[in-house]
């Protein structure tokens, strides 16, 4: 490997080093705060090294990875998401007895896998990154091992993820059998840019999409989502909802755009069906939920369906719409789960609606932040979520995807109902009913993280210009 290639891989290297250092430090001195500071430093350094790597982009590394502006942008997004998850995890894990150091090791390793995923250009690195991510997640999701809900969530995710990885491998094998190559660009070339996809390849792609569908919690591969989101610790849920999905979606975009998915009718139909099913199932099933974490899980299924609309749209705005919506979604979900983490205690998670009843009168700032996050998910202007949905509709209408656009609109209207339910619960008067309120334990890191996220939400909703210019510059190649 030449020096430019190594320098281009600097974020990955720094992440790996951070994992090792954190492992050693948490082995020798059991100081939670020190471990967290180290993790944060490592993440910041990795984020900073993106600037160095950007000078050498685009560059292919050993046929397995390609470090181009797209990969670096998503690396940055994922590192920031990991940063905020760490901030929330500190406060959360402080409340729980036990040794919290390993959480950060697993988090950094999972980030390593995620960053590998967004730079992947070969099935091998794809699978490698995916497995690093998944295996770290198995342990992350079951972290509080004395809590049976956690273990249940972890085991469910383990079994289903392994099965989907098996599907993925089988699919990759089928593609390799027909085409004789595993590199993305080669695959695209040998299928004639998506026109001449043979039977075996199509079957393989179908199985690969099953694997994708599981990781992204699209319908009908979503059955693990509500249970895992509910059972896992809130920061781990935040991680899986943002980093894991973001990385896999970035890879999906890269892989299928190379393959010119829009030229292939079967693939288009498949993704359309997945999108419509996800939107409807996510929204309709969320209507009945009164558990906030499950509600957010179903809403994330629906949001991934919305994101597929941008994926399916061609046109100049589509990739920008995709990335912007993903960023807005990540900011929102981090904020929402961060608040859930703040309100959770050692005994139980703060996930029922009763925990949030009359919140606005007891803790107005926290309730305000949560309201803003929910309104952003609902797509109300002034928030980033609105501009994200607007961009999605823009991309959809531009490509004349009328059915999908109308379904998106209808589902957005339907989704209002359950977001409003939570908001109403927060603004109910204290004397109605018997509130079993959860008391928040707010650390400085939590407060700082939440403030930054809320400000980012409004900033992206009102003045997204610089970010959009950046995304436009990056995705111009797509």
């Amino acid at each position: 490997m030449t020096t430019p290639q190594i320098l281009a891989l600097l974020p990955l290297i720094i992440l790996a080093l951070t994992a090792i250092v954190v492992m050693l430090v948490s082995a020798c001195c059991r100081n939670h705060r020190a471990v967290v500071i180290l993790t944060l430093l490592g993440l910041i350094t990795a984020f900073g090294s993106i600037a160095i790597a950007a000078q050498y982009a685009p560059i292919a590394v050993a046929r397995l990875l390609v470090v181009d502006p797209f990969a670096l942008l998503f690396t940055g997004i994922l590192l920031l998401a990991g940063f905020f998850v760490t901030l929330f995890a500190y406060g959360y894990l402080e409340k729980h007895p036990g040794t919290p150091g390993e959480f950060y090791i697993l988090l950094v390793l999972a980030l390593l896998g995620a960053v590998t995923l967004v730079s992947a250009a070969h099935f091998a690195s794809f699978f490698l990154g995916l497995e690093i991510l998944s295996i770290s997640l198995y342990a992350l999701l079951a972290y509080l091992r004395t809590n049976p809900l956690n273990i249940e969530a972890g085991i469910k995710y383990l079994v289903l993820s392994s099965v989907s990885s098996a599907f993925l491998l089988f699919g990759m094998a089928l593609v390799y059998a027909e085409l004789g190559t595993m590199a993305f660009t080669e695959i695209a070339a040998r299928t004639g840019g998506g026109h001449a996809i043979g039977v075996l390849t199509m079957a393989g792609l179908g199985l690969i999409i099953v694997g994708f569908g599981f990781k992204l919690a699209l319908a009908p591969f979503y059955f693990w989502t509500p249970d895992v989101y509910q059972g896992a610790p809130a920061p781990a849920t935040a991680f899986i909802a943002t980093v894991s999905k973001g990385a896999v979606f970035a890879l999906l975009l890269r892989f299928f755009l190379l393959l010119h998915v829009r030229q292939s009718m079967p693939l288009l139909v498949l993704f359309t069906v997945l999108a419509i099913a996800s939107m409807f199932i996510g929204n309709l099933l969320a209507l009945h939920q009164d558990n906030v974490k499950r509600l957010l899980a179903y809403s994330s299924i629906a949001n991934m369906g919305y994101l597929l609309v941008a994926f399916l749209a061609g046109g100049p705005q589509a990739a920008t719409a995709f990335t912007f919506f993903l960023i807005a979604y990540i900011v929102t979900i981090l904020g929402a789960f961060g608040i859930v983490a703040i309100f959770s205690s050692a005994r139980r998670e703060a996930d029922t609606l009763l925990d949030y009843r009359a919140l606005a009168w007891r803790h107005p700032w926290l309730a305000g932040a949560f309201t803003v996050m929910l309104l952003s998910l609902a797509g109300i202007p002034l928030t980033a979520g609105f501009l994200g949905k607007f961009y999605l509709l823009l991309a959809g209408v531009q490509s004349h995807l009328w059915l999908l656009a109308i379904i998106l609109v209808v589902n957005s209207a339907v989704s209002l109902y359950y977001y409003l339910r939570v908001i109403i619960a927060m603004y109910t008067h204290p004397r109605e009913g018997h509130p079993e309120h959860a008391t928040p334990h707010l650390t400085a890191m939590d407060a700082a993280a939440l403030t930054v996220l809320t400000i980012a939400l409004f900033w992206l909703g009102i003045y997204p210009g610089p970010l959009i210019r950046l995304i436009d510059a990056v995705v111009r190649g797509f």
Binding site: A378, L382, F390, V397, A405, V410
Partner: protein, 619 residues
Amino acid sequence: MILVWLILIPFIGGLLSWLVARWNVTAARWIALAAMFLQLALAVGIWITNWGAIKLAGRGPWLIDYRQPWLPQLGISLHFGLDGFSLLLILLTGVIGVWSILASWRGIQERVGFFHFNLLLTLTGITGLFLALDLFLFYFFWEVMLVPLFFLIDIWGHERRHMAAVKFFIYTQAGGLFLLLGILGLYFVSGKGSFDYFDLLGTPMSAVMAMWLMFCFFLAFAVKLPAFPLHPWLPDAHTQAPVAGSVDLAGLVLKVAAYGMIRFMIPLFPAASLHFAPVAMTLAVIGILYGAILAFAQTDLKRLVAYTSISHMGFVLLGIFAWNELALQGALIIIIAHGISTGALFILVGMISDRFKSRSLENMGGLWPLLPSVGGVWMFFAMASLGLPGLGGFIGEFLVLLGTFKVSVGFAAVASLGFIVSVIYSLWMVQKVFFGRPSHTEPVPGLTWYEWAMMASAIIITLWLGLYPQPFMDTAAGSLLNLLKGTARVSSLRSPVLGTDIETPRLRLLLVAKYHSRLRLIGSFGVCPQNPIIDSGFILRPYFGDSYRNSLATQVGTQSETGATLSPEFRCQSPKYSPALMLCPSTDNPEKRDHTIASLPPSPRRERLGVRGSRGGRP
């Protein structure tokens, strides 16, 4: 920049009020009141300073214009504009805003700062809506108006407020999302990469696409107006909202939909609106009668007043889709008059329910001796609601009917039944509450000084509208004529899909303003007995013939050249300045100032009856 101040003043006032409320609640109320007074004063100042400009015919309707780029990649700018039409609505916003703060002076005691923040944020959104000239900005303010109103209903409302708030939010948001879809469709069809109103006007598009997009816009506005099948949110929202919320809803939020239709929907899609008009007018007429009949059936006083709103908005919808100067002026007058009178009615309902702790008509009766002042004012506004001549509602409804009559006799005839049914519910309203067997005997507190002030201002404005609406009509005339001219220009184009002219055998509405001159309303009584331009056909009368097309083309041609050579539609027989108050058009063209029927130049329609073949283009 002053337009931005019009929007920012309520917003800053709301923020200040919220912050100050922590220390002093009364100060918070005064700050909110001061902010709204300031906005009202600013609007009145603009009106007075531009009065001369409004009267000046050739100047063009836009009084103030402001533009800043916001998201240039998408073609979104902060484009605000004020013309006579929006100026009147801003004035209405100021008045209703002041009233809603005063009305909740004693009623709201919890979270006063947050209440005023939400109230003023709603008013900010509404002001922005009336000023926005960029479609994205319009949608943006549409949503901004929505959320604080939701909180107003949900937190400070009455017993079933959660259901009402959710219903309101989902209905309006769903409509808003369809509006967004329509806006985006228009954005892409125009291909200019801009959301600006002026860039999107006159976009050529296929008839099918235009119909779909117009329908998206119509859905959104029909939910808000509300038009007949999409109205269920209104009774609950009005009933369960606190007084200020109801006043805002009835006074302003419903008008936003009418404004949207007049400013955006019809000018952007004139041909599609034309084709859709029979459906819309049917819905309007159904709304008029349905709202009135259901109002009569209510036992909850607030709900009764809410249903009267549906009825009045039906008149507005009718007038909008008739789309001629008479009908639009009528719709505008109804908007202002209804905002004032229904706002006042809601305030009165609030006063009554505060004092008697009940909104149910069963528990009321014979309250006149206890509250004679409230009874008197209530009767006044009940008369305004039913359309008593001399009060604002009559002028508006009458002009709407007149304008609709020119277009279709059937609709006008059925709609005029609205006058009868409105009498029924209005008199019922008065009788059930204030007359009859007394239900309460203990004395209750009378009106406070500011309640008197609100009622007095309401009465003055209603009388002003009823007896001398000319200033209002003058203010809006320029902008309405401009809108009418704009659609006439566009609708004379050939329809590309059908490859034929618009005179296909279907209902043909006259989009061209037959009036170039302004209406001088000397009084409010009677009408010119001869109205020769009667479309004596049936509702779906087909229009055939080259003669009509030629005449239309010439009309449009002459209109666009000089804008001043069309003949008036009808003449009065009596002289112009008769004390027997007549509705007389005045022309600027002296040779046409002629008051006998015999010298009436043949109108195109009259010409066409029985005359086939080309006839030369003299209108």
